[in-house]
Assembly symmetry: C4
Homo-oligomer: 295 residues x 4
């Protein structure tokens, strides 16, 4: 690992280094979503598999939130740290990211979440198998499917469930837009992941009862698909009155509404021209482009 | 969304953008108080409606505190992030805000809290309805009114209740004034919301037992009024020996005392002339005026 | 409150403003210790008086720690935010503060803690009175004396108790010295109170079992004296095999050891001459003197 | 303690001050690992010895994490704050530290952990002795050996146990490398310990169920050896199907994999030449060398 050009180590490094900004962002979003699922759903797993002895609502809420924080710290300097198709959607919708990148971001997020679910299943294989005598159950006190995906509370109607996912994601995006708005409080980039983590803590503590507060299509659908394939069966899709599509579509709607509310009530009234617009025009910038735009 | 003047998108944005600083502040205080109530009272709702399974004193205290944090991050750059008539009152009383703005701030805070309570009721409608068999109760183990407003502990006398609200708000304002005092520790603006959040955590953990530690007329009265209208009935006002006015009047008194204590014991003794005074004289400043004065 | 000299408001402010740096520091230490006791011991009170329903080890540990954080934010810019005779002792011992100030600091800390205990008693008067049918008990399941002062676990010998207070305060001071050492990590002043708060959280979570982890003569002795006078009786001093002197003397010994360990293992080996020494020589500096020396 | 050269105090200080950068780092790593074990394992001790009354999964996870935070604050400016042979291993493997320092770092970490375990045993001697009637047990409800070292869950196979330690440390190092990567988010050094602490919180909340999540050979092996010598007997090594070597070897493998993943997916693709390479060539830098390289 010598710095001189032409040397073998450096050349090798040079050969591996990606020139494409988009390719780097795809790798980052994959890695970030992977981290979020293993550590986030892992916090749920630890609480469920220990039947509350080594985890509960506090460790789940803080654990999942800090999983998001860590995923953002790993990726924010490369891809902006979306790790959520709903966030990427809002970023495109409000001119913070080019639409052509959207499918690549979403694809790597779904893939990262799937690999994350598989990894978590592997690392808790012995625990899951011993939990219900080798059975993989979706309902009842020995259920383990909700380690991976969210399911609605028994009392919840479909209308309320959909409104729930919309509203939670609305709040998520209002605050995310505020944190990234340099003309509001101006949170430094190194502190932004922690503020987002605290935001996840409060949303999970306040709006998590109805259906577990997924707010993220990749976080919910990919692990659900994994459980369907891994032995829980495709009832994971039909359960809860075909609930599966609600944490997929709801967050996209909520993200749009949340961004719209923030822009309409706060951002549009800032007196100065937005620095974002300038960045939007010069396309050939270094790989931190999306980040500088967003943040 | 191009930056050039005269284009349609920009013109549209220009037409929407508010020229009035006060109007922007009203919108911000409305949005901030709305966020605080949905996420803050939502944390109480999740604990109550799950009968302690998905929430408890830890998630309530941290959840409400982080709801305040998020509300401040969304609004502090615009309106100073008061989201509390008692804070606005102290700011006016000690020359940090013009009195003429006070009724506008308070009005938008009360309105935001009312809409927040209604939103929370909507999003937990199924949960609240299934909780007590469709009944909306104020007392007993199936009560849900205290999701929205605070009620006194059975042992509490009115004198003690009033002193409780005064004292809690006194502490709130002492520390708020300290955090905003650039000649004390000098907390950067981006960190101030988090420190205020930690302050809410400790006050709710230490002075929350008597009557739930509202410390905020808008946070308590607007949701209480909402519950009266939404079906709990006007007993929400007579309950607890007509307790309703105590979290309204007490915080105003406490805020004045808290500001007075900080100014008298700490701020007045700083050697240099206060930068606040200068800001107070040049009235035609940009919309971050109150903020620069406060912080 | 106009800025011009000679005006009445300003003159009044000028008349009140203290010229003496020491007098300001005394006021600050009084206020800081007062805040710490009301909010810190208040966290204990809420857990005990609610019999664990509205508080427990998590809210106590976080509550007391954040009470310390808030007390430091209010005072650090004025007096250095010691709020603990053991900290003041170590600061004097290692040349961070003049010895002549020591009795004034300690006196105001003891007084602030006493007034804090009285205030807490007042605000929870109804709760304490209803808790044990009007009785003020030191032992048993209806005891309330440990709201205010610490008592040893039944298993604890006096030797182990003394070592416990020494060791806990040793760790407190090692980390406090590290945080204030600008040639180590260099924690900015605005972040220092939070780091100290997290330190209190971990010490209370790890070394709190033996005797409640007072680590502070003022925090323990003043509230104990208050309880003796307020009706619990002087058995608060004889309880636990005359335990009362251990949280008074132990912390002083531990503070000296902690400072000594940090200086000997870390600070003394820094290559550059210490900026502290220069500050030590120019005595007529503004009121932030101790702070600039310590931090 | 006067600054002038030639004076007695200063000379004495000069005589004690270490010229060798390595010797300072050894002292720092010893002190840091010592702090981590006393406060970290102390959090486990408080929960176990109080049978859950004064501690549980929340205080253990936050306590151990904050113990790591404090250990890093005390040492990061001197030695980089590894306090973990697996971290030192990864730092050497990826050119962040010279290999010749590795055995010295690891030796002082093991020694610090051993002395820490002995100190903790001493300070909780009365508590441990009274817990099981004077017996020192490894299994059963009165076991205390897991205060010091980790043991596997009953369901856990050796293969799963090994994968568990590898995976947990992989995540630890991915995020540690991200936090230290100035071309990613750029976490300021004073905030890095807190981010690492939050990382420990989430890993302990999500991957702690299988075997307690040691992720650190020194943290596990030294206290285990201490318990073997202090009276628990050498069954601490044979317990759990000779589990003892897994938290020793697994973390080393995981650290290498974690560093490799971060470098391969993120770091290698940064456009600019790495500042590390320059530092690597000029060897005669001041004692903050490793730190500036790492961070």
């Amino acid at each position: 690992m010598q710095p001189e050009k032409g040397e073998k180590g450096k050349s090798f490094k040079q050969r591996l280094a990606l020139k494409s900004s988009l390719m780097k962002e795809i790798l980052a979003e994959f890695l970030g979503t992977f981290i979020m699922i293993v550590l986030g759903c892992g916090s749920v797993a630890q609480a469920i598999l220990s039947r509350g002895v080594f985890g509960g609502i506090v460790t789940i809420n803080i654990g999942f939130a800090m999983a998001v924080v860590m995923a953002i710290y790993v990726t924010a300097g490369i891809s902006g740290g979306h790790i959520n198709p709903a966030v990427s959607f809002a970023m495109c919708l409000f001119g913070r990211m080019k639409w052509f990148k959207f499918p690549f971001y979403v694809g790597s997020q779904f893939l990262g979440a799937f690999v994350g679910a598989a990894t978590l299943f592997g690392i808790y294989y012995d625990g899951i198998m011993s939990f219900a005598g080798g059975k993989l159950l979706i309902t009842g006190e020995n259920a383990t499917a909700h380690i991976f995906a969210t399911y609605p509370a028994p009392y919840l109607s479909l209308v309320n469930a959909f409104a729930d996912q919309v509203l939670a994601t609305t709040f998520l995006l209002i605050v995310v837009f505020a944190i990234f708005d340099s003309r509001n409080v101006g949170v430094p980039q190194s502190l932004q992941p922690i503020v987002i983590g605290l935001l996840i803590v409060v949303i999970a503590s306040s709006l998590g009862l109805n259906s577990g507060c997924a707010m993220n299509p990749a976080r919910d659908l990919s692990p659900r698909l994994f459980t369907a394939l891994a032995g829980w069966g495709f009832e994971v899709f039909t359960a809860g009155n075909n609930f599966w599509w609600i944490p997929v579509v709801g967050p996209l709607v909520g993200a749009a509404i949340g961004g719209f509310i923030y822009v309409l009530l706060i951002e549009i009234h800032h007196p100065d021209p937005e620095p974002e617009f300038k960045a939007e025009q010069s396309e050939d910038k270094p790989e931190k482009y999306e980040l500088s735009v967003i943040m």
